[in-house]
Amino acid sequence: MNCYYHPEKESKNFCSKCNKPLCEECSIDTNGKILCKDCVKEEVKKVYIKRKSPSLAAVLSIVPGLGAIYNGQILKGISFILIFASLTGLEDYARGFENVIFGLMIAGFYLYMIIDSYNSARAINLGLEDYSLYPKEGSTLFGIVLLFLGIAFILANFELIHYEHIVKLWPLIFIVIGAKMIYKWKKSSQ
């Protein structure tokens, strides 16, 4: 087999992390362990990665979205602020039983934001790309929810629909979570 970086050279070793074939020149000996230059870079990055304090992230989350912003997840933080503001704004239009539902949703979302920023900070410290809980970068479902809320609020702001109509959409939360669970179940059975 030939070296990954020099196709013209015969390989002498394999990287002990990613198993790339390596020639003499490309083999980097790290305390008896042979690594390729890409894996060395990764290891160095892990040492220098910015540490986040999970407890500080959780405390900052008392202000909605601030914990996520502290974690460097700016867009997530902005979406958290917007969703929280939407929910609290809609609660004014919810009457009776629906007011209770919205109160529960606000409380749940508030706790979720605190837990998420705590977990995200831990994930960042471990050098994981895929930050803990929802919403992951590139979560289609989260995108659809945001888009849907945005369109609904634009329509309501221009008086094409009533805010009460958006309030009436609350059962969608069951449908979204249910659909997500079924999708997961289907995926895991394959």
Partner: protein, 60 residues
Amino acid sequence: MAKRSWDSLIFGLILLILGILFLLSNFGYRINVWHVIEKYWPVLLILLGLKYLIAGIKKR
């Protein structure tokens, strides 16, 4: 990692537009910027939604 992201462009544009609107209203043009924000803030939700959606579709 050195991929150029659209985030900076979008948020740059939003800040730019807000700045221009506030300036205009400070110099006597009859624009109520807070009114504009009140009406158009869900655009931010839509843009964020599109971002997550596009990233999700690309990942497939």
